[in-house]
């Protein structure tokens, strides 16, 4: 590798001295390391990134960023203060160390690095975030589809100003009550299949009012006063209901969207607040869907870059050892019966899968040729990786690329847990019969829409009782957490303004398992 690199860079030939030595970092060093890594990342690995912006921050600022879900700008809300207080307490007691970096899916791509980091860590962070994550953000279809990285910072700026203006006009508590409710429904603020078209609510309302007035004026006739009142029956005709449902776009899975457009009692500014929360939720949705791949990609990229730098002689032995130490703790995967176990480590699995793709491309076994005929032995592993990074999300990535060898390496096994039984049952293990089953189950585990409850607005009576009905389509008999659901439903009722009913219904049989109701508090 070193020779090919030096062919591309004849000027630096013979000048492959270590970029830095020792722990101290300077802005010049960061710049130099960034540029040198760029030669590898863009030139050799063929990555495609947004321009980088690296920001040096303190530990306290890092805590700050944590609390506002990692965003550089955020509107004010008590829950961020709560998060800050908690993180600070953990941090001060030494129960949790801070991340070395934080990266924002924006254009330019902003990476935060902490001033406490050693130069080695800064180099690692730049390779990981400024090249790895950055490439993933720019190229993965999920991000391309759902996020507008060139707008996000501006939009957050707008949101922050808008919320504080609302606080001034309507009072902190009024704003807070809307945001609280919206935050509770944040996970149901995502349109999974269709990208919603933004519409200007205020303008639409005005137009509607104008149309109504024009219609009233045009059709006014004093004789109407003498007509008997319309009976209720007409509104309850099935066709009417169907029409209304169609008009409301039911069933609707995006609760925040539905409320923003249809909640009868909300003011325009309240709708705008819902919209802000909804757009944020939508912005983060790709990150939830690609967590494992995203980290895998970034880890793979930093490992590759650091190794190549070392091969060129541009890193000292000490730096390399420090790097390897922190790299291996990042990708450490404890076993299920280990006290440290807290689920599959996305870094570990992601990194392993990326390396596996490379292995299958270059040194396939007979088994690999069987399982991955399109990939095995093709040689262009970097091309294969770039394709995987751009066209998959965690769920489909696992389905497509998890190889029997990895299942064996991780010694994965699938268990099923029936709440009615006293013990869990092992369904499949890392053997010939089990590979496909393990892979299928693991893929489902990474499917966000299968992990979140499947909730939809199924009925809304806008002309009569104004009752809103939600349906939870229960999969495998897993009901909602009762107290949480009722509290959240209360928030929902607060936004809707009238009675809200939540029906938990079996997905196939249609049997109703449970019902909750909430009325808005005055």
């Amino acid at each position: 590798m070193a020779t090919t690199a030096s062919k591309k860079l004849p000027k630096r030939k013979g000048n492959m001295r270590p970029l830095f030595d020792g722990a101290e970092w300077t802005f010049e060093l960061i710049q130099k390391v960034h540029d040198t890594m760029g030669e590898i990342a863009l030139g050799e690995l063929g990555l495609d990134i947004y321009p980088n912006q690296i920001e040096v921050i303190t530990a306290e600022q890092m805590l700050d960023s944590y609390s506002s879900i990692g965003m550089p700008l955020m509107y004010r809300h008590w829950s961020f203060g709560k998060r800050f207080a908690r993180d600070e307490a953990y941090y001060k007691r030494g129960m949790r160390s801070l991340a070395y970096e934080l990266v924002i899916n924006s254009d330019p791509c902003i990476s935060y690095v902490m001033e406490e980091n050693s130069m080695t860590m800064q180099a690692l962070v730049i390779a990981h975030a400024a090249y790895g994550h950055n490439h993933f953000f720019k190229n993965n279809y999920q991000f391309q589809l759902w996020t507008q990285p060139d707008h996000i910072i501006d939009y957050l700026g707008f949101a922050k100003t808008y919320v504080s203006e609302c606080e001034e006009r309507f009072g902190q508590e009024a704003v807070e009550s809307v945001l609280d409710a919206a935050h509770a429904l944040m996970n149901q603020g995502v349109s999974r299949d269709l990208r919603p078209r933004p519409r200007n609510v205020a303008k639409r309302e005005q137009e509607k009012a104008a149309r109504r007035r024009a219609h009233e004026e045009a059709t006014y006739d004093d004789i109407y006063r003498t007509l008997p009142e319309i009976t209720k029956e007409r509104t309850s005709e099935p066709t009417e209901t169907q029409n209304e449902q169609r008009r409301l776009g039911l069933p609707e899975e995006n609760l925040l969207y539905f409320l923003e457009k249809n909640a009868p009692k909300l003011e325009d500014w309240q709708r705008e607040l819902l919209r802000i929360v909804r757009l944020l939720s939508q912005y983060f949705y790709p990150q939830r869907q690609t967590k494992m791949m995203n980290e895998g990609c970034a880890t793979f990229v930093h490992y590759e870059i650091m190794n190549r730098l070392y091969e060129r002689g541009q890193l000292t032995d000490g730096t390399m050892l420090e790097f390897l130490h922190s790299h291996s703790s990042v990708i450490f995967q404890p076993s299920f019966n280990d006290r440290r176990f807290s689920g599959l480590n996305p870094y570990a699995l992601g990194f392993a899968m990326m390396n596996d793709i490379r292995r299958i491309s270059t040194e396939p076994t007979a088994e690999d040729r069987d399982w991955f005929p399109d990939l095995a032995g093709k040689g262009d592993w970097m091309g294969a990786l770039r394709q995987a990074w751009s066209e998959f999300r965690d769920e489909s990535f696992v389905l497509q690329y998890l190889s029997p060898k990895l299942i064996r390496d991780f010694r994965m096994f699938a268990v099923s847990d029936d709440s009615k039984e006293a013990a869990m049952e092992v369904k499949s293990i890392h053997d010939e019969q089990g590979y496909k089953d393990v892979r299928r189950r693991l893929a489902r585990h990474y499917d966000v829409s299968a992990q979140d409850p499947d909730l939809q607005v199924t009925d809304a009576d806008l002309s009569g009782s104004r009752r809103l009905v939600l349906t939870h389509r229960v999969r495998n008999g897993v009901l909602l957490d009762k107290t949480e659901a009722e509290r959240t439903l209360q928030y929902l009722a607060q936004l809707w303004g009238y009675r809200v009913k939540l029906v938990e219904q079996e997905i196939d049989g249609g049997r109703v398992l449970k019902e909750h109701e909430a009325l808005p508090m005055p």
């Binding site: 506002s68 203060g81 299920f336 807290s342 585990h445």
Partner: protein, 428 residues
């Protein structure tokens, strides 16, 4: 690439969030603070406070799948011996879902621990309270000015005239301007007289002498002995001397009639007062005086723990307090606060002496004197006046820096304290 150094950006970007958070949890935090006071020493209240609140208002619910129903499955790493069909007993506590992610913010329960800074703690603690007598004299004016010599000035009140300096300047001026001295005039006069007495008179000499004499006399008249220009006054600067220290006297009846619960009530009150004072003074000293028929200064432990037998003579405690004030806490340098707790009993003949001590000696040097009467529930009745209550009522009517209240249970302490030190009361 661009590198931005954000380290110098304004800190505490999240201050607004923090304030909103504290406002939200205010009532719960206040509860927690009250709880935490019970187990503390009086002087400990001023440190930063770790607060655990069980907060309804901090809940962030969301729709999530429950753990206790249905069928779910996990893929776990690290299989050692399991085969298909094996059964794994569920871990205790229903935490079968270790394989899946926990809830996003990782908290199932409502308990929430965090640290309040000392300021936040005390702000919440006092909220709308104001220190008595300080409402008018705002904290920044709570300073006695001290006069410090600062050279001389040419103007000032006669009392400040610096005579030495004035005379020195006068002398210098007179010498410089050659103001004739009295002796010189006298000598000339004598010479003139001698010349006139001469026979025959030397008219030329006389005229010369007379001219000199008159010149000198004119000089003497024109050049003042003390000119306004000579005046030197002592100059003083008013240097503000912050009185940043306060002493708090805790007086308590230690006779057997003060039972443990009553002492506990008193302790809470002392504690609150102490916290309150530390809010305003950099240094707060505590003096514990307990009394039966005699009084003694003791340490905190003895103060609250020990019980003695004997009668109750309150004036002994007041005497002891005055003695300590005289010895160690000059009212010029110290803000003196006193809090007295008693069950209302006193040796009957002692009351006049108490009132005299209070009126004549203690109240004039005290910023504030608070008397609380701890009573058992059944005696908490205004109709039954204890001797002390009866006697002190008179003082309370006439003195603004004297306050008295009754406390029957721990719940009463805070409201009573609030009432004693409320802004209205202090302004009245």
């Amino acid at each position: 690439m661009q590198i931005v150094d954000r380290r110098l950006n304004p800190k505490s970007k999240s201050l607004g969030n923090r304030q909103r958070f504290l406002r939200r949890a205010k009532s719960e935090i206040r509860e927690a603070i009250k709880d935490s006071l019970r187990s503390r020493k009086i002087a400990e209240t001023e440190s930063a406070e770790k607060v655990t609140i069980r907060s309804k208002s901090l809940r962030e619910p969301s729709f999530g799948l429950g753990r206790n129903s249905g069928l779910r499955d996990y893929v776990l790493p690290g299989n050692e011996e399991y085969k298909v069909g094996d059964e794994i007993p569920k871990p205790q506590g229903g935490a079968g879902g270790r394989g899946s992610q926990g809830s996003p913010d990782g908290e199932g329960q409502d308990d929430f621990t965090f640290t309040l800074t000392k300021d936040e703690f005390l702000d919440l603690f006092f909220d709308d309270l104001k220190l008595p007598n300080l409402i008018k004299v705002k904290l920044k004016d709570l300073k006695t000015a001290r006069l410090v010599r600062a050279g001389f000035t040419t103007d000032g009140p006669p009392a400040r005239l610096n005579r030495t300096r004035t005379m020195r300047k006068s002398l210098g001026r007179r010498m410089a301007l050659r103001r004739p001295s009295e002796a010189e005039i006298k000598r000339l006069e004598e010479e003139l007289a001698a010349a006139e007495a001469e026979t025959p008179p030397d008219a030329k000499k006389i005229a010369e002498l007379r001219a000199r004499f008159e010149h000198k006399q004119r000089l003497r008249r024109t050049i003042a002995y003390i000119d306004p220009i000579d005046l030197a006054y002592n100059r003083f600067d008013r240097v503000p001397k912050p009185t940043t220290q306060a002493v708090m006297f805790c007086l308590m009846d230690a006779s057997a009639s003060m039972t443990e619960p009553l002492k506990d009530l008193a302790k809470r009150f002392f504690m609150l007062l102490h916290v309150f004072l530390t809010r305003y003074y950099r240094e707060v000293h505590l003096v514990f005086i307990r009394h039966t028929s005699t009084a003694a200064e003791v340490d905190e432990e003895t103060f609250f723990r020990g019980t003695e037998t004997g009668g109750t003579v309150i004036s002994t405690a007041l005497d002891e307090m005055l003695k300590v004030v005289r010895e160690r806490y000059s009212p010029a340098d110290w803000n003196i606060y006193a809090a007295q707790a008693s069950d209302g009993d006193n040796f009957h003949d002692d009351m006049p002496r108490c009132l005299e001590l209070l009126n004549e000696e203690i109240l004039p040097v005290c910023q504030y004197f608070a008397y609380i009467e701890t009573t058992h529930g059944e005696r908490f009745n205004d109709a039954v006046e204890t001797p002390v209550w009866h006697g002190y009522s008179e003082v309370a009517r006439r003195r603004r820096n004297f306050a008295m209240r009754r406390v029957a249970s721990p719940e009463d302490i805070f409201p009573v304290f609030h009432e004693l030190f409320s802004a209205d009361n202090a302004a009245a």
